[in-house]
Structure formats: structure tokens, C-alpha cells
């Protein structure tokens, strides 16, 4: 008999009410970050540790990257862990606390004041993330299936929590000495935990599930994903050891080489998934998402030069550090979000509006919920903006920085327009 058993498991997914506020919040944060980038363009010629760059980094990391990932995660957790989201209430708590905490923290960084506002902001964000960790842990626990993607997602969330915990400690450390060194000393650790532990692990965990799924690929390689998982975690753990034992600084290269191998293996995984896809026509949203996989490698170039300089000449290069940070947040993370937003959001809204209507050509396609021409215009503005800003940093040219930032504002406007168009979509009959 062909059918071996009936499984009546419902397929109900997370309600749109939980997910959509995160998307809206993230879209507005992206716009705010690009405007601040334009206003602060000249600061990119000086140093990375200053109020404007700290504020921009945290809007990008928390308001943009983390908020949209939290929103998408609440939607995608059922797909990743093959089980339902444990609690909608915990998801609302995460949104409200992070939604209040992020502007408080960013404002404090912008005015460079680490008083009560910064402490309350940081603590609210930390509590929001704790709610997310609990929600995710309980969702995985109640799921019958354990898979490598869920392991990636859960580990990355733990790293996020540790990053935020250290961040709050750094805020408190500015006014009362809770750590043995000043807060600036711990910034590389805070940044690495967030970038590698949170963003890199999560994007690989989710990407390795979604890329083959969207491409309808035959390629499956759980063993390779496990190797990537261990390589990245070993790299991060060894970085932490080296950070606390400066005598091991000469081994920093080994730590980044392990990371590089992990990223290259993920690139290999994506290439194989792409090669073995059934769906030959790849849409623009997937193209931008796949481009972000390549953009993952770009920040490694300045990173390796920075490490080389630090290891062999004990010199740091401000321009390279700024370039590295910019490529991480505005390059790699933004590229994947720009692509994946329009692979997920139209479907969430379409499901909300049309799920009880017959498909039979009577409803628009989810892809019709946004303007594809504007999506292409957004992608062009984005790539030109990144290119111009990178040249501006490298050659210390304020005009190129301003042109780049202006193009990124245009990108954010077009992105917000399309997001608003999707969110405000009203049912239509064709």
C-alpha cells in the first residue's frame, strides 16, 4: 500500500499578528539607520568608536537585523523545528520589550550617556531576548523532530543572549566598575559574539533549510552542516579563549582560518543546492538572497588584513575596521534581509487575507502584493550605495560616502514603500 499511515497533525502556523509588527519595526529602523548614516557620513573618516557609529551599529544590529530575524523566526520556527511555536504571548512580550528597549539604548548611545535610560533600555532588550530563548527552547522541546537546523537556530539564540548580556554589562560598566577592564576593551568580544554567534550561525541554520526549499533542490547534506556547525562554534570559542589569554594572540589567524573554512563549506553547500535544483527559474528575491551568501565572504577580506596587521605589526587600521563593520551590517545582513523579506512577508499577508478563499485564479498571487519594478530599483540603489560607500571609506572621500548613504536612504524608502504596500493589502477579486 502506498500510504503507510495517516497523520492528522495540523499545519497551523504562527499567527500573522505576532509576526507583522516585527517586520514593520525593522523596516522603520532600516530607514532611521540610513538617515543617521547620511547625517554621520563625515564621522566615517575619523574612528569607529564614537556616538554616531555606535548608534548606527545598534539600530542595524538590533532594530533592523535582530527584529526582522525574530519576526521571521516566529513564523519559520514551525518549518525549522517541525513543531508549533510554543507561545504567542511570549512572542508579544519579546516584541514589546525589545521595541521599547532598542530606541532607549540607541538614543543613549547617540548622546553617549550611560545613565538610567541606557540601563533600562539594555535590560528591556535582554528580557525580550530571554522570552525568545524560552519560547524557542520550549518549541524545540515539544517538537518530535530534532534536526541540525534547529540546533543552529537554538545555539545562535543562546549566543545572542550572551551578546546582549555582555552588552548590558558594558553599559553598567561605564558608570560603575563591574568588569576588570573598561567597556571599550570588551567591544571586540561583544561584536564577535553577535556577528559570528548570532547572525552567522542563525543565517546558516535558516539558510540551509530555506535555500534548498525555495529552489526545490535534491541536495541534502546534514553531515556537512554538522561540520560547519562545529567549525564555527570552535572558531568562536577559540576567539573567546584568545581574548582572555592575550599570550595566545598569535593563534588568532588559526581561529579565523577555521571560521573561513566553515563559511566556504556553507558556500559549497549553497552552490550544490543551486546546482541540483528542480526549479530552474530563480526569482529576483532569491537572487538577492543568494548574492548575500557571496557577500558573506567580502567582509572576510578586510578582516584578514586587520588580523594580519594586528598579528605582525600590532597596528590597527581604522578604515579597515570601519569597512569591516559596514560590510557586515549594510552588506551581508542587509542583503539577505532585503531578499528574504519579499520571500516571506507577501506569503504571510496573503495567508492572512486569502486563506479561506479558493485559489482557482480568483485571488492575486503573493508575488503580486508588492511592486517588482520597485524591488529591482531598490536592489540597484542598494548595490550602487554599498559600492559608493565602500569606496568612500577606502579613499576617505566624503562625497562618495554621502552619495552612498543617499542611495541607501533611497533603498530604505523603496523597501518601506513595498513593505507598507504588502502590509496594507486589501482583498481583491480578480
Amino acid at each position: 500500500m502506498f500510504i503507510t499511515g495517516i497523520n492528522n497533525t495540523t499545519t497551523k502556523t504562527t499567527t500573522w499578528k505576532v509576526v507583522l509588527p516585527f517586520y514593520l519595526y525593522a523596516a522603520l529602523s532600516f530607514l532611521a539607520a540610513t538617515i543617521l548614516l547620511f547625517i554621520s557620513s563625515n564621522k566615517f573618516l575619523i574612528h569607529y568608536f564614537q556616538p554616531n557609529t555606535l548608534a548606527i551599529t545598534h539600530i542595524m544590529a538590533l532594530g533592523w537585523g535582530t527584529m526582522i530575524i525574530l519576526g521571521a523566526s516566529h513564523q519559520l520556527v514551525p518549518v525549522i523545528v517541525e513543531g508549533k511555536l510554543y507561545s504567542n504571548i511570549l512572542a508579544y512580550i519579546s516584541f514589546i520589550l525589545a521595541g521599547i528597549g532598542i530606541p532607549l539604548l540607541v538614543y543613549s548611545l547617540y548622546i553617549f550617556s550611560f545613565g538610567a535610560t541606557a540601563k533600562i533600555g539594555g535590560s528591556l532588550i535582554l528580557t525580550a531576548l530571554l522570552a525568545f530563548v524560552i519560547n524557542l527552547a520550549l518549541s524545540i522541546t515539544q517538537s518530535k523532530s530534532q534536526n541540525i537546523h534547529a540546533t543552529f537556530v537554538f545555539t545562535s539564540t543562546l549566543w545572542l543572549f550572551i551578546t546582549a548580556f555582555l552588552g548590558v554589562l558594558l553599559v553598567f560598566n561605564f558608570s560603575s566598575s563591574v568588569l576588570s577592564q573598561d567597556s571599550v576593551y570588551y567591544l571586540p568580544l561583544h561584536a564577535h559574539l553577535g556577528i559570528i554567534g548570532w547572525f552567522l550561525l542563525l543565517i546558516i541554520g535558516v539558510g540551509s533549510r530555506l535555500i534548498p526549499m525555495f529552489l526545490i533542490s535534491k541536495y541534502v547534506n546534514e553531515k556537512l552542516l554538522r561540520i560547519i556547525y562545529y567549525l564555527i562554534n570552535i572558531s568562536l570559542l577559540s576567539f573567546i579563549v584568545i581574548f582572555f589569554i592575550p599570550a595566545f594572540n598569535k593563534y588568532l589567524f588559526v581561529c579565523y582560518t577555521i571560521l573561513f573554512i566553515g563559511i566556504m563549506l556553507f558556500l559549497y553547500y549553497c552552490i550544490q543546492a543551486h546546482k541540483q535544483r528542480i526549479r530552474k527559474k530563480v526569482d529576483e528575491q532569491m537572487k538577492i538572497s543568494l548574492l548575500s551568501v557571496i557577500m558573506m565572504l567580502v567582509p572576510l577580506l578586510p578582516l584578514f588584513i586587520i588580523i594580519f596587521l594586528l598579528t605582525f605589526s600590532a597596528q590597527s587600521n581604522i578604515h579597515l575596521l570601519l569597512l569591516y563593520g559596514f560590510l557586515i551590517f549594510f552588506g551581508w545582513i542587509t542583503a539577505i534581509i532585503l531578499g528574504m523579506t519579499f520571500k516571506t512577508l507577501p506569503f504571510i499577508v496573503w495567508n492572512k487575507v486569502y486563506h479561506i478563499q479558493s485559489a482557482n485564479g480568483k485571488t492575486p498571487n503573493p508575488k503580486d502584493l508588492f511592486n517588482n519594478q520597485l524591488f529591482i530599483a531598490m536592489s540597484i540603489c542598494y548595490l550602487c550605495g554599498i559600492f559608493s560607500f565602500v569606496l568612500g571609506i577606502l579613499f576617505a572621500l566624503i562625497l562618495l560616502l554621502q552619495i552612498g548613504a543617499a542611495l541607501l536612504i533611497a533603498t530604505a524608502f523603496l523597501y518601506n514603500y513595498n513593505v507598507a504596500k504588502i502590509l496594507l493589502h486589501k482583498p481583491i477579486k480578480l
Binding site: F2, I3, T4, G5, I6, N7, N8, T9, T10, T11, K12, T13, Q75, L76, P78, V79, E82, G83, K84, M213, F214, I216, K218, I278, R279, K280, K281, F347, I348, W350, N351, Y354, H355, I356, Q357, S358, A359, N360, G361, N365, P366
Partner: protein, 107 residues
């Protein structure tokens, strides 16, 4: 992929109706996608039991797809009660896509 049935004639009609139910993400109908496993007709009780799957369990579009299958069969077989049973055994895989479906995706 062959669909199991106890009534070939009515099954052909049902499959023709289900050709108009699409997976909104892929843009291919549920029949060519190989999501329909079995359609049985219980004439005594005027029941249609459609056993189907989804490309992935907890597919975000799952509820919408199963609702559309129900309404399409309901529209074509008035007087019948439609029961859609979801199964993930065996799980869907790309081998279940029909030749027409593969041609569509390969364009």
C-alpha cells in the same frame, strides 16, 4: 505519480478540479506537484476522502492549500461531504512531481 482511488471516473473529475489549486509559492498545481495521494468516494454516506501531503510539514501555506482543495472539491461535487486528510507518510519529495510539473519548473 499515480493517485489511488476506488472510483477512477470520479477521481479523474476530482483531479481535473484540483488542477486549479496552486501552491502559491511554487506556482504549480497540487496534482502536478504530487501532493494528492488518494481520493476515495464513499457513495453510501456521500463522502469524499482526499488524502494529501504538503511539500513540508508546518508549511506556512498549508492551511490555505487544504482549504482550497476542500472548496474546489465541494464546488465540483455538490451534496458530498469533503474530508481532507493530511499525511506526511511518506513525506513529499521531488520524485513525486509529474513530468508536466518538472517541465513547468524547468522553464
Amino acid at each position: 505519480m499515480n493517485v489511488i482511488t476506488n472510483n477512477n471516473l470520479k477521481c479523474t473529475t476530482a483531479l481535473a478540479l484540483l488542477h486549479d489549486v496552486y501552491d502559491p509559492e511554487i506556482g504549480l498545481n497540487v496534482v502536478d506537484l504530487g501532493l494528492i495521494y488518494q481520493i476515495d468516494f464513499d457513495e453510501d454516506n456521500a463522502n469524499i476522502i482526499c488524502t494529501m501531503t504538503l511539500t513540508t510539514q508546518f508549511c506556512p501555506m498549508g492551511e490555505s492549500i487544504t482549504n482550497n482543495v476542500t472548496s474546489m472539491l465541494q464546488a465540483g461535487f455538490t451534496g458530498y461531504t469533503i474530508n481532507v486528510n493530511l499525511t506526511f507518510s511518506p513525506p513529499w519529495n521531488y520524485e513525486m512531481i509529474s513530468e508536466e510539473g518538472k517541465i513547468f519548473l524547468g522553464r
